[in-house]
């Protein structure tokens, strides 16, 4: 672990630079590519592929170097998330091509902004400095605000969404900034690893360290992170934004942006407010923040699931379901073990496939039938059998039923909690009861597709590339859990 200075760092920063270059390239070619909007998507996709290659080239073999004098860190943890973000953005762009929901004149900004969000998430997953954390968080947020306003289906709704998003986002990032300033005030430094050492009492601090101040700082910071991961009680923006935003962006927010939030949560809280022990971490001093996190987790999944029960709009239903999934994922974060981190990342990977798949079906059906209501899905088994079967697989996987990957993901989330000992059993029990509640609303959709008849018959013609893309999501949703080798690729620490 060495710290590189600014000049040395540039060569390790190429992936991010590529993203920036391509984002600008998309904007510039927007001037020239009138009438041929698909070129823009192709440029963005090429940019992502180039980024992926350079990320792998730069990161593999690195053992956690700090770049730019300790601003960001290049480790396998960040690498995992970067790959995840690239997949999510890639899928989002593919979803958006030819979609009526996005106006052709705005495609340039749209793709460019997707690339800048990706850049922000890259930085967020690797940031180790308070300033860098805040800056990258804002980069992600501000780009997302704009992206959520792109829908042409209900333009006013979409603008309202965007505005709501800004207000919530601004308030919670303001609160978080206050938490960060408390932290900085106590310790006088901005590197989170060093802060962790001071708060653990292993190094002297320029200021006084009070437990109450630490607690307040954690709570304030959790407000910012909880907003990104849509955790209760900072989740209220999510259903409205998810419903109003263009569906590809909804899919993106519910997967990538959420994953970015979790990467920040792990790195920030574990570095600053915990100290490494054998096979995990122990929280500092007398502030029992894992318990707070546990309560947030239990509340998040319960509120998410109970609210989802009442939804008739599938997009909104999936929004609440993704809030609930945030709660499940959080379960593995409360136990502060390396296994917990690994299980969490494993789940995020599976969640990426199944949730993107489910949203893709919503996109396809909304494009054909112009509706996101569950009623529109009636009789889909005879109208579009492949889509209906795929959707059922995604939904059953989200429920966590074998033989689908979602089961294996959930198995180890619960495993992390059970492993941590009997004082966390309550959380596991809340988790499993929630899984049963979740079944009810997922099955409502399956029921509409398979058990109910539609007044309209006649099959829906889904284009072949779309079907192929759908199958590409189905395959990992079935198989990911069975691949034992996968575990070797998932980092358990940073």
């Amino acid at each position: 672990m060495e710290t590189l200075d600014n000049i040395q760092s540039v060569s390790k920063f190429i992936p991010e630079l590529i993203l920036i270059v391509f984002a600008i390239a998309v904007v510039i070619s927007d001037f020239f590519a009138k009438g041929r909007r698909e070129t823009l998507a192709i440029i963005a996709l090429v940019g992502l592929i180039a980024t992926l290659i350079s990320v792998l080239a730069v990161s593999i073999g690195e053992t956690g170097e700090s770049l730019f004098m300790g601003m960001i860190k290049l480790d396998s943890f960040a690498l995992f998330f970067k790959v995840l973000f690239i997949i999510a953005t890639f899928a989002t762009i593919l979803f958006s091509v030819r979609l009526k929901e996005i106006a052709d004149v705005h495609r340039g900004e749209y793709y460019a902004l997707l690339l800048t969000v990706t850049l922000g998430m890259f930085l967020l997953a690797s940031a180790t400095n308070l300033l860098m954390i805040y800056l990258s968080l804002e980069l992600v947020s501000i780009s997302s605000y704009i992206l959520s306003g792109f829908s042409t289906l209900k333009p006013q709704r979409s603008s309202e969404t965007s505005f709501k998003f800004i207000i919530y986002g601004a308030v919670s990032s303001g609160i978080m900034l206050f938490g960060i300033s408390l932290l900085f005030g106590m310790t006088g430094i901005s590197n989170i690893n060093d802060i962790g050492i001071i708060l653990a009492g292993k190094a002297s601090s320029p200021g006084e360290v009070y437990n109450l101040t630490i607690l307040l700082s954690i709570l304030f910071i959790l407000a910012g992170i909880g907003y990104k991961t849509a955790s209760v009680p900072f989740h209220q923006w999510a259903p409205d934004v998810y419903e109003g935003a263009p569906t590809p962006i909804t899919a993106f927010l519910s997967v990538a942006s959420k994953a970015a939030g979790f990467s920040l949560l792990l790195r920030f809280l574990y570095s600053a407010f915990a100290q490494p022990v054998a096979e995990g971490w122990s929280h500092i001093g007398e502030v029992n923040w894992p318990l707070i996190l546990g309560i947030i987790s239990a509340l998040t999944m319960t509120v998410g699931n109970l609210s989802a029960l009442l939804q008739n709009n599938l997009k909104r239903l999936l929004a609440y379901s993704s809030i609930a999934h945030g709660g499940y994922i959080l379960m593995a974060a409360v136990v502060l073990t390396q296994q917990g981190v690994q299980y969490m990342l494993f789940y995020l990977l599976i969640y990426l496939c199944m949730n993107l798949g489910a949203f893709f079906v919503v996109i396809l059906i909304a494009d054909k039938l112009g509706s996101e209501e569950i009623d529109a899905y009636r009789g889909l088994r005879s109208r579009a059998p492949i889509v209906a079967v795929s959707m059922s697989i995604f939904l059953f996987s989200l429920t966590g039923i074998p033989p689908f990957a979602g089961f294996f993901g959930k198995l180890w989330l619960f495993g992390a909690v059970i492993e941590a000992g009997s004082h966390w059993y309550w959380l596991a029990i809340v988790g499993v009861i929630n899984s049963v509640i979740a079944l009810y609303y997922y099955v409502r959709v399956v029921k509409a597709m398979f058990l109910e008849e539609s007044s309209e018959t006649g099959s829906l013609s889904i284009s072949r590339p779309h079907l192929v893309l759908l199958i590409i999501f189905v395959i990992p949703t079935i198989l990911l859990g069975y691949i034992g080798q996968l575990w070797k690729l998932i980092p358990s620490s940073f």
Partner: protein
């Protein structure tokens, strides 16, 4: 110990139905005849394999047979491990037999109760169900066990929901296939997620961490062991089903199509009983002993409650469904006794109930296919009559009577199944109940005496049903000779004698009921050594 190596034969048992699914998918939808024949042939293969395994089963060996395991996910010490002992060999045989018979009984899938619904998808789901069931009874690793356990849920949901009865309004609830299917799904999933936590708790409390069902143990009856015990127990109890988790059963059984009711009652319920014997007893021995009385009390409640509910039914299928609850109570009572006779009896009772309840549901199916209702006495509620597309003027009147004169062969078979179920000596039901009671009497005298009452009530409702349907005067609606005003020619013409295909499904089960009743050692000889081994770990 499970030997290293791939369990080829047992894998084939569940892989062939899966392969069959793929074959069926390739056949065009309109080719219904081919689909049906191929499905029956595919279900015959596991049956032949099961018979082969049964014949070659070394009953003097206490090891798991045809067993093998290969590493699957090394990071968590998960193995793909399978094997069968004297207990599971019977369950596998029962599953293969009932699945084969069910495939034949599903012949009417396109004709009678599901016009316009795909025969192909029905059989594809049916085969998936079979794969799940067989895999479950062979699995010796908790993850494999759980995956197969849950694998049965999905096809069952669709089979009940899509091919079950049409939705109809009863009071405030819209009953029917979809309602029963979701109820079944939610109940079972609730049980299985608790079981999942229990599995994880066992895993993380074993050293080294292991999912191996044959070796892990949680000694003691401390809070952890009791908690884990309940995690497993609730999962299995919902499947059995044990009071108060039984309410999904009457709905699911009644709304499911006949062959699926057969599988539900004949095999699915056994998953619960088998699970308690395979998991709760050996893995949590002391907790089981500690909670034995609790288990026995639940068993007695099941017996009495199931019998009383059955007695109150006017719907023949509901009556049979409730009788299942009562009969499974004996399984629980036998297990609770933790004695040689009791556990042997419990397993024998599961086997016998599998055969008998299979027969009973097939019998109900025969009547339903002919007259499209299954009421012994028509309901008094006129709206309900309309929901069933029946003439409201008949409300409250008996639907049958004197049927023995019209359909003597059918009556004979019904009598066999009913007498077997009410525990007539010489038929298999008697042996299971008697052994369970024998075992229970050693430990819980009072409870055993109370549960005998269940047999009496059982005899009462079965005999009463025979009397109301088959004995007495011919119902004027189909008494042509009397020539009364009520004579209904259409109704009369529907009531035909049982046909060859239906006989083919019922006779094998009937023969086995008699054989096992006369010569129970055929089963007990194989079961008893495995039970003895199980008890050794318990006492």
């Amino acid at each position: 110990m499970i030997p290293e190596g791939f369990p080829i034969l047992l894998t084939l048992m569940w892989a062939i139905p899966v392969l069959g699914m793929v074959i069926l998918m390739l056949i065009p939808n309109r080719n219904e005849r081919a689909i049906k024949w191929i499905s029956v042939l595919i279900t015959a293969v596991p049956l032949i394999l099961a018979i082969f395994i049964f014949i070659n089963f070394d009953r003097f060996s206490q090891e798991y047979q045809y067993a093998g395991r290969v590493p699957w996910i090394n990071a968590f010490n998960i193995h793909y491990s399978m094997g069968i002992d004297g207990i599971s060999v019977w369950m596998v045989l029962l599953t293969a037999l009932l699945d084969f018979i069910g495939a034949i009984a599903s012949w009417g899938v396109s004709r009678d109760w599901a016009v316009g619904k795909s025969v192909k998808i029905y059989y594809v789901l049916y085969l998936l169900l079979e794969a799940g069931l067989i895999g479950f009874f062979c699995a010796l690793d908790f993850i494999v066990f759980f995956v197969f356990w849950e694998l049965t849920l999905l096809p069952m949901y669709f089979l009940i929901g899509v091919w079950g009865t049409e939705p109809r309004r009863e009071g405030k609830i819209v009953r029917g296939g979809p309602y029963a299917a979701i109820k079944f799904f939610l109940y079972t999933l609730f049980g299985s997620v608790l079981m999942l936590l229990a599995i994880l708790a066992v895993y993380f409390n074993s050293d080294p961490h292991s999912f191996d069902i044959t070796t892990v143990k949680l000694i003691g009856a401390g809070p952890l062991a009791v908690l884990v015990w309940f995690g497993f127990f609730i999962g299995f109890a919902i499947k059995v089903p044990i009071f108060p988790f039984h309410t999904w059963l009457p709905d699911a059984h009644v709304e499911a199509p006949t062959p699926i009711s057969v599988i539900l009652a004949g095999v699915l319920l056994k998953m619960g009983g088998y699970g308690i014997i395979r998991v709760n007893l050996p893995i949590l021995p002391e907790a089981t002993k500690y909670l034995g009385t609790f288990l026995a009390i639940l068993g007695v409640i099941n017996i009495i409650y199931g019998a009383l509910c059955a007695m109150a039914q006017t719907d023949l299928k509901r009556l049979v469904a409730y009788s299942s609850i009562g009969h499974m109570g004996f399984v629980l009572l036998g297990i609770a006794s933790i004695s040689d006779a009791g556990i042997n009896g419990a397993i024998f009772q599961m086997l016998s109930h599998g055969l008998l309840s299979g027969m009973l549901f097939l019998i109900v199916g025969v009547i339903y296919d002919r007259v499209h209702h299954r009421f012994i006495v028509y309901p008094k509620d006129k709206e309900l009559m309309q929901e069933w597309h029946l003439d409201p003027s008949l409300a409250g009147k008996p639907a049958f009577g004197g049927l023995g004169l019209k359909v003597p062969v059918y009556t004979g078979i019904v009598s066999l199944a009913f007498f077997g179920s009410l525990g007539l000596p010489g038929l298999s039901g008697f042996i299971g109940e008697a052994l369970s009671l024998l075992g229970a009497f050693g430990r819980y005298k009072v409870l055993a005496i109370i549960s005998v009452l269940g047999i009496v009530i059982g005899a009462a409702y079965f005999l009463w049903t025979i009397q109301r349907i088959f004995l007495g005067k011919l119902n004027p609606r189909y008494d042509k000779d009397a020539g009364g005003e009520e004579y209904d020619e259409e109704y009369d013409s529907h009531l035909t004698e049982i046909n060859g295909r239906e006989l083919a499904t019922l006779i094998p089960l009937g023969v086995l009921v008699i054989v096992l009743g006369v010569y129970p050692s055929m089963a007990l000889n194989i079961i008893k050594d495995s039970v003895a081994l199980l008890l050794k770990t318990l006492i």
